[in-house]
Symmetry: C2
Subunit: 159 residues, 2 copies
C-alpha cells in the first residue's frame, strides 16, 4: 500500500486500478459534492448547473452576458445552455432578449425574482464547504490546484 503512493505513474500504467487514478477521484468527488448541493438547491427549485448560471449573472450585475459569454465563463456550449436558460426563464428568474445591435446575440438578464434570490442564497457555499471536512488551507489549496489543472488542459487544447 505504501510503495504505490510513492510511484503513482508506474503503478497505474502497470495495473489500471480504479482507486489509484486521479481521474476517478475527481469524477467521484465532483458527483459527491453535487449530491451535497442537490437537497439545498431543491429548496430553491434549482439544479446545480442552473445555480452556476445564476452565480455568473449575479456577478455581472447590470451587464447581462450573452449566451456565448455565459458559455465561456462556465465552459458550456449552447447545446447545454439554450434549454437550461429556457427553464430558468420559465421559472421567472431570467429574461432572454435579442441584442438590438447584433441580432445573432441573446442577452441573459435577471428578473427581479432572479436578482432577489441572491440574498436568500448567501449561506449556500458555507453549508457546502463544511460538508467537505477540509479546513480553510486545504480548501484553498484544492481549489487552486484544480483551477491550475483545468487551465493547463484548456491551454493545450487551444494549440
Amino acid at each position: 500500500m505504501r510503495n504505490w503512493i510513492a510511484s503513482y505513474v508506474f503503478r497505474v500504467s502497470d495495473h489500471l486500478v480504479l482507486r489509484g487514478q486521479v481521474c476517478f477521484a475527481l469524477y467521484a468527488a465532483s458527483r459527491a459534492l453535487t449530491d451535497v448541493y442537490r437537497p439545498i438547491l431543491d429548496e430553491f427549485g434549482l439544479t446545480y448547473p442552473q445555480y452556476l448560471v445564476l452565480l455568473v449573472l449575479w456577478e455581472r450585475g447590470d451587464d447581462p452576458p450573452t449566451v456565448s459569454e455565459l458559455g465561456a465563463a462556465l465552459r458550456l456550449d449552447s447545446g447545454t445552455l439554450s434549454p437550461l436558460l429556457k427553464r430558468l426563464a420559465a421559472a421567472g428568474l431570467v429574461v432572454r432578449t435579442r441584442s438590438v445591435l447584433d441580432e445573432r446575440r441573446v442577452e441573459v438578464g435577471l428578473t427581479a425574482d432572479g436578482a432577489a434570490l441572491r440574498q436568500r442564497m448567501t449561506d449556500v457555499p458555507l453549508r457546502v464547504a463544511c460538508s467537505t471536512g477540509l479546513d480553510e488551507a486545504e480548501l484553498v489549496a484544492l481549489r487552486d490546484t484544480l483551477t491550475r489543472v483545468t487551465e493547463t488542459i484548456h491551454r493545450q487544447k487551444e494549440q
Copy 2:
C-alpha cells in the same frame, strides 16, 4: 458555522463568486479531464463511464461482480448501469448472466475481447496524467485529498 470557512468563501472577493468556489473548480476540472479522455477512449469505442466499468472488471479478474457491486465501486445506481452495461454487452466486451444461486442478481463478466482490451489500454492513464501538468507528488496529494472529501461526504450521508 465556523469562522475559517467564512474566510475561505470571502477570500477572493465578495459573496457567491464563481471562481472562488471549490465546487466550481471541481466541476470544471472533472469535465476538463473527461475532455482529455474522450479522444483517447474514442479510439476504443468507449465512453468514460464505460471505461470505469472495465477498470473494475479487470481488477476483479475471475470474480465477476454483480450490478450492485459495480454500483458500489463506482457509486452509480442501476438506472445508470443497466443501459450502460447493455451497450458494453452489445459491443461484445461484457456478458451479463443471471446468478444461479440468486436469480435477482446479474453477474457482469468480461468476454475475451473485453479482457484483451486491458493490454491495449495500459498507457491510457499515463497519457492522461501528463495532460494535467502536475508532477507525481501533486497527483498523489490531489487524489488523496479528493478521496478524503468523497468519503467524508458519503459517511455523512449514511447517518
